[in-house]
Amino acid sequence: MPQLFFAGLSVIVAGGLAALVPSRTPGRMERVFAALVAAGCVLVALAALRVLVGGDAWEVRVAASVPGGAWVFGIDALSAFFLVAIAGVGAAAAVYGATYLAAERSHGGVPFAHAAVAVLLVTLALVVTARAVVPFLLAWEVMAIANFLLVMFDHERADTRRSGIIYLVATHTATLTLIGMFAIWSASAHDLTFASLARAASTPAAGLGAVLVLALFGFGVKAGFVPLHFWLPGAHAAAPSHVSALMSGLVIKTGIYGLLRVIALAGGAPEWCGWTLLGLGVVSGVLGVVWALAQHDIKRLLAYHSVENIGIILIGMGVGALGTAYGLPAVAALGYAGAILHVLNHAVFKGLLFLGAGAVTRAAGTRRLDALGGLGRLMPMTWLAFLLGSVAIVGLPPLNGFVSEWMIVQALLGAGLGKGAIRAAVFGVAALGLIGGLALACFTKVNGVVFLGRARTAEAAAGREVGPGLFVPMLGLAAVCTLIGLLPAFVVRPALAAAEVVIGGDAGAHTVDPGTGAAWVGAAAAALIAFAAMGWVAYRVLMRDRSRVVAQTWGCAFSNPTPRMQYTATSFAAPVLEPFGAVAGLSVSHQGEEYRTHPRDPWLEGVILPAWRRLRAAVARAQELQLGRLHVSLLYVFATVVALLWYLASRQVP
């Protein structure tokens, strides 16, 4: 239902404009902004749900006066699924942001930041609904630019500027790659709508191989899987927390959406593409979580977990692509559906976690893990939300992260039980296991070091619970995590519908019965919660009439432990990281009795930046030829004339 959708977008835009309106009473316009954006997101979500539930996909054509034909927008199950994620997380982040940035009103950029958030949300929605090259690329780049401006919000800090430039360069290069991709593809198409791209895909002239490679690069940079993740951690850490939530939850997912859409238009990805996706998924899944373990900065840590989760999503997509390539529709459906569902799940719990990180940063004034501690008792709401988010991201029952991982595992098993080379894909299960185990280590570390034990610094000790403006959105997202965990069937079916868009036709429809399995998972989650609750009650009853003895923590005969004696994040992660050696990207330094580890991204610091420096040096050498001496320039002219005369002579047949 186009009207609803575009109405929603315009309401969001109105919200953005409202943020720019100066008002005498501070915060009024921010509230208006939050309300309008939330309302707009609700409308967009409704429009999407109509398609997901009702199944009536639509397309509208806008006659645009630019070369390349009409602009088409539309919502099908795939777009709708992404739209739901965008609307949900977007609303939460916007509401959160309205309060979160209030502390920095002196900064002056705050209204513009809010407006940029609105623009970001609108362009996100347009990216996943555009059905023609030009509007897609327009929305795509405007999204990137708005995102860049938001990353630069705190631009007085040098590292922010550095991250911002790296981000800008990366994203623009990605856009150029996409331009190249669409150029190749559309060269044989008769106009630039996705429909005719799909038609052209059947012709060999389309050069689908090149298209897919370019798509992998262009969308891959946005999605941020290894080795294209280099921009991601810095940018996520530099941006304001609610923006980090939007980036990690939504923006990088547009890369995934782009890949899925390209696969859908190309009529399925070939075998090599499936294996590539799977391989990339395993690599970035494992490396992402390993590098996350090495971090000392809570936001960088979460950012690396985005790399990890993109890896999990890619594993699902890879096995899905292999499913189609090997004619196993059920595997394809499960794989793609698992990936798509994980997109939603990750959007929710990673958004939640970044918002939590923001709350912690506000409360304790630092992002350094080893400077925090004991915040759990000071900010119980944030702690609860963050804990739920952690359980979800580790993929533990009874929350939503488990559901999507379960689906992906099933797809992998299906591949393993298939015929031919595809069976090798089953090793992906092991990768998922390893990833899960490492993620558990990482998030026990975060929760333990940030929220448990005792405060390591005075600032942390002074931390107070944030206002409802911050924790209500977090709790809302946490509730979503729990609901999806308890009632998976309600999301699994739409995910399968979206997967069918990718596969084309209703190949997966009859082969997969999501109902029973999902119902079991939900039941198990419920049972678990019930058991735990019963245990808790029983425990209460048992302890009812016993007095509680409260003492100091047992220090193994050491009388008075101080907060500084607590286990730090570094020491917690050390034994897990040690086996990974150099891959872990930790550089260790001893100063006297002080022992520090410095996380460094082996790819960015070790490969990309040195390569760039070498290029600059080479160019500097080349510029020696070009010192602007007049006679040299004249020599060039002379040489050109001679060369051209020679060409002339060679082309003159009397």
């Binding site: 795509w140 150029l176 050109t640 082309r651």
Partner: protein
């Protein structure tokens, strides 16, 4: 006197008027009025194609109309800017400055309108002469060197172009005397009868001549120095207008060659020049520390893109013409803004920091310009570059398309690394120059208008313009994508 005469004569008279006028206020007002009138006349030209005059020496076809429009629009923006500029930096009353500006406009319009190769050549030489004093506005040693270099190289180019013109005439001499010599229409009409040997020779020398004025590698050496020392608005005029009309000269000879069925001769040359300019321009953008110098290389790069599009033909030719428009606007925007930065903070544009705080308008314009010149949506440059690249793939030159995109990426990295730190941060950065305010409406209005223009062209290319572009591309063996 018809519209076409007016387009040329009005600015010429304006130049005289500015030269004789005593008081400066009059002079700037004069400048504004002429620019406005010229704009109006150009608008009139869009309403209906005026008839050729001077025995067909002066006429207005699709390409001419497009070029004329860019010239007029850009000049109007520059004129507005000039008012603010002359208030801030005006060593000698600006008499020579204003009259040279107007003379330049007159010559440029002449080039856009001339359908006679000798007339075209005269116009181009006149622009060369008119710009020289403008570059030399500051009268210091560096600008003297730059002017000398500019004059020397471009007059060599002009001379070679004249030789090319002679050769063209010679090629015509074979085909009967009924034809009007060197008149475009007759050349096109009688193209098959033209003597190929002379024609090829003519093509080569015109290519070198006008290529030098466009600044194609390796004939570009004058560009960085000249743009670096010239005042922002002059550099803007050169990068936007001068290169544009030189490109027109290039398209003229190309169109004759194609009509004569010698496209196979000229295409490799265009592709070679185009790729060379793209690559060198992109590579030299990296690590420039002077904004205007860097923009000069960016101009080289984009001239390469235009030439490439011309050589590729097909949809790329259309894209090239559209890109000529977009690039003109974008370059004007950036050079005017660079001028603002220099006025606001002094020193070389490039060592300022934290402009967002001190000169917000210029800072935002810089960012917009960066994106616009890099061809990122929603700016018009995106559409044109996409069309060119798409045409390259369509014409079966995938590697050329890939190379173009690679160069654009490299160029963007270089530009972002210079511009982003200028815009953001605080002026307390190490090595950063204290950025002072001091923008006024005159200085901001022009670039803002240009920014809006290039932005608009990304979202909406007026149907009329599309028609003209299609017609122009058709002459160059191209078509609307």
């Amino acid at each position: 006197m018809t519209l076409l005469h007016a387009l040329v004569l009005l600015p010429a008279l304006g130049a005289l008027g500015a030269a004789v006028h005593r008081t400066e206020a009059y002079r700037t007002g004069w400048l504004l009025v002429i620019a406005a009138l010229h704009l109006v006349l150009t608008g009139l030209a869009w309403t209906g194609a005026p008839p050729p005059t001077l025995g067909g020496w002066i006429a207005l076809d699709a390409i001419g109309l497009i070029v004329l429009t860019v010239v007029s629009v850009l000049f109007a923006a520059v004129a507005v800017y000039a008012v603010g500029y002359l208030r801030r930096e005006n060593p000698r009353g600006g008499r020579a400055f204003v009259s040279c500006l107007l003379a330049f406009l007159s010559a440029a319009s002449l080039v856009a309108l001339s359908h006679h190769f000798a007339l075209l050549w005269i116009g181009l030489e006149a622009t060369t002469l008119a710009v020289a004093p403008l570059i030399f506005h500051r009268h210091d040693r560096r600008s003297l060197e730059a002017v000398w270099k500019y004059l020397m190289l471009s007059s060599v180019g002009i001379a070679l172009a004249l030789l090319g013109t002679f050769l063209l005439a010679a090629s015509q001499s074979v085909s009967g005397d009924a034809v009007r010599p060197l008149v475009l229409e007759d050349l096109m009409a009688g193209a098959p009868q033209l003597h190929p040997a002379w024609l090829k020779a003519a093509c080569v020398f015109l290519l070198v001549g006008y290529g030098t004025k466009m600044g194609l590698v390796p004939l570009h050496a004058w560009k960085p120095d000249t743009y670096a020392v010239a005042p922002g608005l002059v550099a803007g005029l050169m990068a936007g207008v001068l290169t544009m009309i030189a490109f027109l000269g290039l398209t003229r000879i190309t169109q004759v060659m194609i009509a004569a069925g010698l496209g196979g001769f000229v295409t490799p040359l265009l592709l070679t020049f185009g790729l060379a300019s793209l690559a060198v321009g992109a590579a030299f953008i990296i690590g420039q520390s002077d904004l205007k110098r860097m923009l000069a290389y960016s101009s080289v790069e984009h001239m390469g893109l235009l030439t490439l599009g011309l050589g590729l033909g097909g949809g790329s030719a259309y894209g090239a013409l559209l890109h000529a428009v977009n690039n003109g606007l974008a370059k004007g925007l950036l050079f005017l803004t660079a001028g603002n930065v220099v006025l606001a903070a002094g020193g070389v544009a490039g060592d300022q920091r934290g402009l967002l705080r001190r000169a917000p308008a210029s800072a935002i314009l810089l960012l917009a310009g960066l994106l616009a010149v890099a061809g990122s949506p929603p700016f018009g440059t995106f559409l044109s570059e996409f069309t060119i690249v798409r045409g390259a793939f369509g014409a079966g030159h995938p590697w050329i398309g890939a190379a173009a995109l690679l160069c654009l990426a490299v160029a963007f990295v270089g530009m972002a690394r210079l511009i982003v730190p200028m815009v953001y941060g605080t002026s307390a950065e190490p090595g950063g120059r204290e950025a002072r305010g001091g923008e006024n409406a005159w200085l901001v209005a022009g670039p803002v208008a240009l920014a809006l223009g290039v932005l608009l062209l990304g979202l909406f290319v007026p149907p009329a313009l599309q028609r003209q572009l299609a017609a122009a591309a058709a002459v160059l063996g191209g078509r609307a994508p």
